[in-house]
């Protein structure tokens, strides 16, 4: 559906305005910082993915034969730490959020451009610390750092890994802070709260979690370091501490962190589905409020990670009940996305295929969450592959699918080039098939009792593990493809029109790629969000005249 005329001569934009390393490393342009993040997290994604492939290869056979047990333990630890803290948490917010939020609300930049750059530098410092930690021996505590193993028994670089994550947390806090202030203070005239794209609402909810939750994990990791280095008795019973205190503190952040990963992805999908259905999103207010509800309730469910950890029966009951309260707004979103398709005019471009994939995988991830929140079942399947499969359906099936969908949807705006549509549809299909082949067998493995973090396993679990490993290789191809054709398109892709999808939203009213200060003049918003009826009836948005 790409249409509209493309200018022959390349206009000045944020990419070609200045050249040279300095113009990138000292930039305060949110769009350039977004690209810096894109490069950094892509690097970490492939590091984490490499670890994942080694894990899957080791598990091809029941015996431990590819690597040593200690190496395996480091692999799954660092896979988790890299993917969670250095890819998933920054992914959509720091790349797409950074790029799009000022454009979507009609601002020149984020509220604090220099702090935005600072947050990238903090991320890079944390990344270098993490890489140094991994290259000089790594860490084997599991990404969860459970005490007293991490503070008194592990012989690996726990302190270094903890400090790396501590620093990366500040990067996350600053990004969240910047978004909240921008969304409150920098909206263009006429851009009321009820006219904000759901993408912005989702990031608002995400930012709240980043600001309120991240300090808790930071403090927790400092306490781990203090106990390990200074032998202060906090978590280790031998020193008078309480190991469950650690788990409470850890999950107080790390459960809401799941929503840092999934909420932005929901935001992306809520932009894509209306565009390719040519319709306003069904139940705008409910979808927006569901994001906020998820962020708030998300803080009240952490101990559902601890039903067999030794908490009291009554604590377990309360946390099980509250866990179901998060499921309601999640269900509301799925129903509204589906309803948006009703009586639409549906196109099947690659971003839409990713969005379909997201809804499917998120639904399955969410439904298996109902199993885990049920106390009697959790006792059996917690700490097994059932849990591994469940959270990968949410965090990889959901979050990464949304991330890729968003990258395809806004790639013309970001790069000024069109990606090859045929390849992109193929990649979406490969990712979907590869993902299910990798992770569906793990639900069965978990119910049959295979514990997670096992380097070797009884032979009866082999068939399902082989299926899973086969799926992982397919999935790897699916993830490599977009990287290849995105890079290819930067050089060889067709120039993108300003609004290739005829999409609603201020970001599509400016040129592709945008100029450094986004809008030639202050935009004034006089239309509602997702005004696809007006667009398709040929009513041009006022701001389009400018572009």
């Amino acid at each position: 559906m790409a249409t509209a005329t493309v200018p022959q001569v390349e206009r000045e934009n944020y990419l070609n305005k200045e050249y040279g390393v300095g113009s990138w490393l000292l930039t305060t342009d949110h769009k350039r910082i977004a690209l810096l993040y894109l490069l950094s997290i892509t690097f970490f994604f492939f590091i984490g993915g490499f670890f994942a492939l080694l894990i899957r290869l080791e598990l091809l056979t029941p015996a431990g034969d590819l690597v040593q047990a200690d190496t395996y333990n480091k692999l799954f630890t660092m896979h988790g730490q890299v993917m969670v803290f250095f890819f998933l948490i920054p992914s959509i917010p720091a790349v797409l959020g950074n790029f799009l939020i000022p454009l979507m609300v009609g601002a020149k930049d984020l509220a604090f451009p220099r702090i935005n750059l600072l947050s990238w530098y903090l991320f890079i410092i944390a990344g270098i610390m993490m890489m140094h930690c991994m290259l000089t021996g790594g860490v084997d505590t599991g990404w969860t750092f459970y005490t007293p193993f991490s503070t008194a028994f592990s012989n690996t670089k726990v302190i270094e890994a903890g400090l790396a994550i501590f620093v990366s947390g500040f990067s996350s806090i600053l990004t969240g802070l910047n978004f909240v202030v921008t969304i409150h203070r920098m909206r263009a005239p006429g851009m009321t709260w009820s006219r904000l794209p759901i993408f912005v609402w989702s990031h608002y909810a995400t930012s709240i979690i980043q600001i309120l939750g991240t300090p808790v994990i930071a403090i927790t990791l400092v306490l781990v370091v203090a106990e390990r280095a200074l032998h202060l008795g906090i978590f280790d019973p031998k020193l008078g501490g309480d190991p469950l205190l650690f788990q409470h503190l850890f999950w107080f952040y790390s459960h809401p962190a799941v929503y840092i990963m999934i909420l932005p992805s929901m935001g992306v999908v809520t932009e894509i589905i209306p565009c390719f259905s040519r319709k306003r999103v069904f139940g705008y207010t409910f979808v927006a409020m569901a994001s906020i509800a998820i962020a708030v309730f998300g803080f009240l469910v952490w101990a559902h990670h601890m039903f067999v950890a030794g908490i009291s029966v009554y604590a377990a009951l309360i946390f099980s009940l509250l866990s179901y309260s998060v499921a309601v707004p999640s269900a509301i979103k799925v129903f509204n996305w589906t309803a948006t398709l009703y009586k639409g005019s549906i196109h099947y471009d690659a971003p839409m295929l990713y969005a379909f994939g997201f809804v499917g995988l998120f639904t399955m991830g969410g439904l298996t969450g109902l199993f885990l929140a049920a106390l009697g079942i959790d006792v059996h399947v917690t700490d097994t592959y059932f849990v591994v499969a469940h959270f990968h359906y949410i965090m990889v099936g959901g979050a990464v699918m949304g991330y890729l969908g968003g990258m395809h949807f806004w790639w013309p705006k970001i790069s000024g080039k069109l990606y090859p549509e045929g390849w992109a549809r193929l990649a979406a299909l490969i990712v979907f098939i590869g993902f299910n082949l990798t992770f569906f067998p793990q639900f069965v493995l978990g119910y049959l009792g295979m514990p997670r973090r096992y380097y070797q396993y009884p032979p009866e679990y082999q068939v399902l593990n082989v299926l899973s490993t086969a799926g992982a290789t397919v999935l790897a191809v699916g993830y490599l493809l977009p990287m290849v054709y995105f890079l290819w398109s930067m050089r060889y892709g067709k120039p993108a029109p300003d609004n290739p999808w005829k999409a609603a939203g201020l970001e599509w009213t400016v040129q592709s790629p945008p100029t450094t200060f986004n809008f030639p003049e202050q935009p004034v918003v006089t239309w509602e969000a997702y005004n696809y009826d007006e667009i398709d009836k040929g009513h041009k948005q006022e701001a389009q005249v400018v572009g």
Binding site: F149, T285, G360, A374, L448
Partner: protein
């Protein structure tokens, strides 16, 4: 009990299967039915509050059914039967040490008879482990510094996996063993093999060797409380609180005597932290328990108290196999 877990699981599989089918067929149907056609515009729909309420309230109702059902199963899992045989479990990197109340010791295997309730009283010497028997649908983390409890009843003879389910270091996946379920007759034969005598008798010996007996006299004239009949009963503390003397209380009172002083006594008892091994501690607990047992020979505890003043202290948990 495994049957109860499975029944709920199957219910959820059917329920989520139906939900997935509903969502997927709606997606596919809409995607095909409303495929873009030239000249046909989408019909704009704002939304529908009645619909939103419907698909909020109905799921909420279904969720509450799942919650209650799951909670009922969980209550069963965490309430050990009163008549259960007790086995003390000490976990360490990377093995399971098990000791029957009758005195038999095992490593990485546990022999139990069919049809008897078995209660596991567990602690760890080092990091957190987790006692997981998939076949019995039980799992309970085993923590250093306190007891946690699980229980089961095996119904079919056979050998079943015992896994450590909480990551505990290098040989985590090697910290496995087996539960050997035997016919009662075979089990009696197995039990008549070597034993050091009942755990409570070992405990009594240690109680004398460590000199506990000089203060904890059975005539209530000692400087410490008389321990006859104390286990499983409420105890009034110096600060006025009432707590139940369960395994964790006895354990704490040996290792940290000042933590919960019994009303009317002075904090004169020294700590035995570092002086007794986990196994000796288990024997002492078994001995104190046997003092509340009129039958004497095989100590059987009253059910452990309901969750009390310290909500995050280990609480009993367990399950039994159908």
């Amino acid at each position: 009990m495994a049957g109860n877990v499975d029944a709920l699981f199957i219910f959820l599989v059917i329920l989520s299967g139906l939900m997935t089918l509903l969502i997927f067929s709606a997606l596919v149907y809409f995607a095909a039915r409303y495929r873009h056609r030239k000249g046909v515009l989408a019909e704009q729909i704002e939304g529908s509050t009645p619909l939103e309420l419907t698909w909020s309230i109905i799921p909420l109702g279904v969720f509450m059914v799942i919650f209650v059902w799951g909670a009922l199963v969980y209550f069963q899992q965490r309430t050990p039967a009163r008549d259960a045989t007790e086995v003390y479990v000490v976990a360490k990197q990377w093995m399971w040490k098990l000791e029957h109340a009758e005195g038999q010791r095992e490593i990485n295997s546990l022999h139990v008879p069919v049809g008897r309730n078995v209660k596991l009283i567990m602690t760890s010497q080092d990091v957190i482990h987790s006692f997981f028997v998939p076949e019995f649908r039980i799992k309970q983390d085993v923590l250093p510094g306190r007891y946690t409890v699980a229980w089961f009843q095996a119904t079919k003879p056979g050998t079943y996996h015992l896994f450590c389910a909480e990551y505990c270091g290098t040989q985590h996946s090697g910290m496995i063993g087996s539960i050997v379920v035997m016919e009662p007759a075979q089990y009696e034969a197995w039990m008549s093999g070597g034993s050091n005598g009942p755990l409570s008798a070992t405990g009594e010996k240690i109680f004398a060797e460590l000199g506990c007996v000089t203060c904890h006299r059975s005539d209530s004239q000692g400087r410490g409380p008389n321990l006859q009949g104390v286990f499983g009963k409420p105890v009034q503390l110096e600060d006025g609180r009432m707590i139940t003397a369960d395994e964790n209380y006895v354990r704490e009172s040996i290792l940290d005597p000042g933590a919960k002083m019994v009303k009317g006594f002075k904090p004169v008892m020294p700590t035995f932290q570092g002086l007794v091994s986990e196994e000796q501690l288990n024997s002492l607990v078994a001995y104190v328990k046997s003092l509340s047992d009129s039958v004497g020979a095989r100590p059987r505890s009253a059910s452990i108290s309901a969750p009390n003043s310290a909500p995050d202290q280990a609480q009993p948990q367990g399950s039994k196999v159908q």
